[in-house]
Symmetry: C3
Subunit: 146 residues, 3 copies
């Protein structure tokens, strides 16, 4: 089983480390603007950092779901590459949003495009699997054979 | 490995697409009520749409966990079916909550009942596995054999 | 496949049941302080319970990711044990935070240390896998052989 998921597992742990980095940014912003838990608001700059972190957290399960399904049913290496580009886009998004609400926009679209790509690859992989299993049609093979 | 999880993977991608649909509803509500990020409040109707989306997001990891454990340890097809019914209940919940806080109630109980069902199936499947592995007791087989 | 993940699946379902317990505490706090959805604030004691539950929810995907990667690539039993200790720390965190913002601190550090441990085990397991697959180096075996 390890062979089929090692690269996906690596990207998963990379995403966990990125989330840890975002959480630390929130803690530092809490100290800088003197906003103690359970308060979640108090200064526009802190609000943006917190919203950026929460948005990344919200999308993590969606990202990991599409990463793993695309990796298992379409192609592991391609899914892992899309995953790394998604994490890079999220890094840009976080620091863009921390600077201003406007600067979050292009990395947001950039990260969303990789999510849609992973979703598309997942659907293609599943379509291929179900056609192969239930109808005996081999799409991928036909592509490769020309 | 694909055979054992293809239906679970399909329901997973369906849940991702449903979440994408909910996120778009929030974006449309932001435009309609003119509430720009990082603000998360401002009009009761917007607050309900945002809370509905957040609640669905919160439950996504729990739903996916029980879906996959029930599917791998109890029965894939049955888990996938419960999963689809859960996603239907969540759709009803979202639009109920968007209309009024009261209308969210019955689909909330409806969706919770499928989560509990998936949790129960997971526990039964795991119990069967551990009894089989460590005590040599075959519950499922005994049921089928009568 | 079941053999390699049964203990991880068990800890996963335990974490789902713990989340269900936390969610019920929020519902009870809503009733006690008469704060109806979609409101998410209104009394400091309620705010703390809600923040405690949200924090546990936020970390659930991160916890499950590291649990499974550590379990599949390093050692299932050790990962499951760290997982159970993490869940115990989260239980202490929840009730600490419900009592006061200060009492959340030590179980927060305690739970974080298990998350870091699981992340470290994941990275070690993946490093071992990639060295074995691409460089032919067997770290784990060398350890065992002395």
């Amino acid at each position: 089983m390890q062979d089929q998921v090692a690269q996906l597992a690596f990207v998963t742990i990379a995403s966990v480390l990125e989330q840890a980095y975002f959480s630390m940014q929130v803690i530092w912003a809490r100290r800088k603007y003197k906003i103690s838990p359970p308060n979640t608001s108090g200064h526009p700059a802190f609000d943006r950092v917190l919203r950026a972190q929460l948005n990344c957290t919200e999308y993590l399960p969606i990202f990991l779901s599409t990463l793993w399904v695309a990796g298992i049913f379409f192609h592991q290496g391609l899914a892992a590459l899309c995953g790394l580009l998604y994490l890079y886009a999220r890094y840009k998004y976080f620091h863009g949003y921390a600077a201003s609400a406007l600067l979050r926009l292009w990395p947001m679209y950039f990260s969303a495009s990789f999510l849609w790509l992973l979703t598309g690859l997942s659907l293609l992989g599943l379509l291929d699997f179900f056609l192969r299993s239930y109808c005996g049609v081999h799409i991928k093979q036909n592509w490769l054979m020309g």
